[in-house]
Symmetry: C2
Subunit: 137 residues, 2 copies
């Protein structure tokens, strides 16, 4: 079962390269966080703030290649947590087919925030439970 | 007219965020450089060194989306230099069509180095001349 989440906060660390993004349940109060790199965090933050940019950045390229080849991004899913690594997929509709692209959650969320409107973000119920449990301990 | 180039050096700066990649003429001796960000420089460097990676990084995603949607990357072109900004395109074959995606040269070169074999890199003759002239002064 998948639970729809939304980006609630991005916290930048000034002392290391581990930035934190928080995802909160859309229809509830549960929340968990994922540690991501500074590049991906900046990319997400820029989009959230609507900062103008003169040239396409790397995440824009992913969207641009998808659109130009006739794909339409549908949603992103955080499906698995293994040894503290989260696994995500970007779902793309291409003609009659749905294609799933393996991605890091940081890239998937950056891409979700690039789309207009932003793509829905889902997390597998067990991943959500497991994350909350390990992050509370 | 386009001139084929190859990546000859990546120079990392320890004092600022401007890394330098050098492109050298394949059939000659002319060379010029482009300043790029640390993220793109690291991505190119990792590929040149064949460093293993456990999860797909952002440039891998561009290639993966392209492949999954039936595109085949052909080559990259650095076509324009305006006010010290270089403009590049990634050429993708999609069925009968050739699609050109606007990109920063750093992303285009990172993607070129990801492909097996690496994509050919072309630069417009006037851009090459203009770069060499301004970089020598």
């Amino acid at each position: 079962m998948f639970v729809q989440m939304e980006l609630s906060r991005i916290v930048f660390s000034e002392i290391n390269n581990q930035q934190v993004i928080y995802l909160r349940e859309v229809a509830g109060t549960r929340e968990f966080y994922i540690l991501i790199g500074i590049f991906e965090a900046s990319s997400i933050d820029r989009r959230v703030k609507g900062a103008p940019q003169q040239r396409p950045l790397t995440h824009d390229l992913v969207c641009c290649v998808c659109n130009e080849l006739g794909g339409k991004m549908q949603e992103i899913i955080i499906s698995r947590l293994e040894e503290q690594t989260y696994f995500a997929q970007i779902k793309i509709q291409h003609g009659e087919k749905i294609i799933e692209i393996d991605a890091r959650p940081s890239d998937a969320i950056a891409i979700a925030m690039l789309c207009q409107p932003p793509l829905p973000i889902f997390v597998e119920e067990n991943v959500l439970k497991q994350s909350i449990s390990s992050q509370q301990s």
